[in-house]
């Protein structure tokens, strides 16, 4: 239950301190309470959010999408049916992305195998990889 200054939070998550301020402005991190002198005091929850944001970005979500994902929380003020619908849409998006990535991965494995002289040296498995989805 300790709290974190901007700098501590940033170091913990491996991001620049300016990025923390930027995320706050963008509404990805909630505005934290301040000390009398104006220093931000982030909670542990902010640490988890920040880590989530970075992971989600790494796997290809834009900040806008991350914000939407973070908005998908169960709370009394959210219409449940709406959250459900949005969660299902996101899940389906991810599923199709995974299919494409799998196709790409298989093409790369095939290419690597062809490089070893094993398997037929097809002209270029990469270009075809995403063709028939």
């Amino acid at each position: 239950m300790k709290s974190w200054t901007s700098g501590a939070l940033a170091r913990n998550a491996g991001v620049n301190i300016e990025t923390v301020r930027y995320y706050e402005r963008r509404g990805l991190l909630p505005k934290p309470p301040r000390t009398q002198s104006g220093y931000r005091l982030f909670s542990d929850d902010a640490v988890r959010r920040l880590r989530f944001i970075k992971r989600a970005q790494q796997i290809g979500f834009s900040l806008k999408e991350v914000k939407e994902l973070l908005g998908l929380q169960i709370n009394p003020r959210t219409m449940c049916a709406d959250v459900k619908r949005r969660a299902e849409v996101k899940a389906a998006d991810i599923e199709s992305k995974v299919r494409d990535l799998e196709a790409m991965r298989k093409a790369l494995v095939k290419l690597a195998a062809a490089c070893s002289g094993r398997g037929p040296a097809t002209q270029c498995p990469i270009l075809e990889s995403l063709d028939h989805l």
Copy 2:
């Protein structure tokens, strides 16, 4: 075996004509032959490349990465062992991305289920989704 003007190529792939020129500058599309008057004439291969680029972008590759993927072709001038190594690295990257996406998707499905009143309404499956990988 027909050939395509910049505009036709762009329309075919659903991109802006300026994007075609941009990709040519960036080296993602090979410099095409020109008519006497200077018009570009792209081959069918360019069509396939362009489609590949857009798909690859959609699933989260940067143009730099796309260029690397396109560079992974079997041709006499490429050191085969090198291509093999790079293909394997890319394949492993994709594998870990897929794992993260799957975790996220499962969290979303769980969330949707919780929304239906089925399943325990855990506080927020989203934030935890990427925690333990």
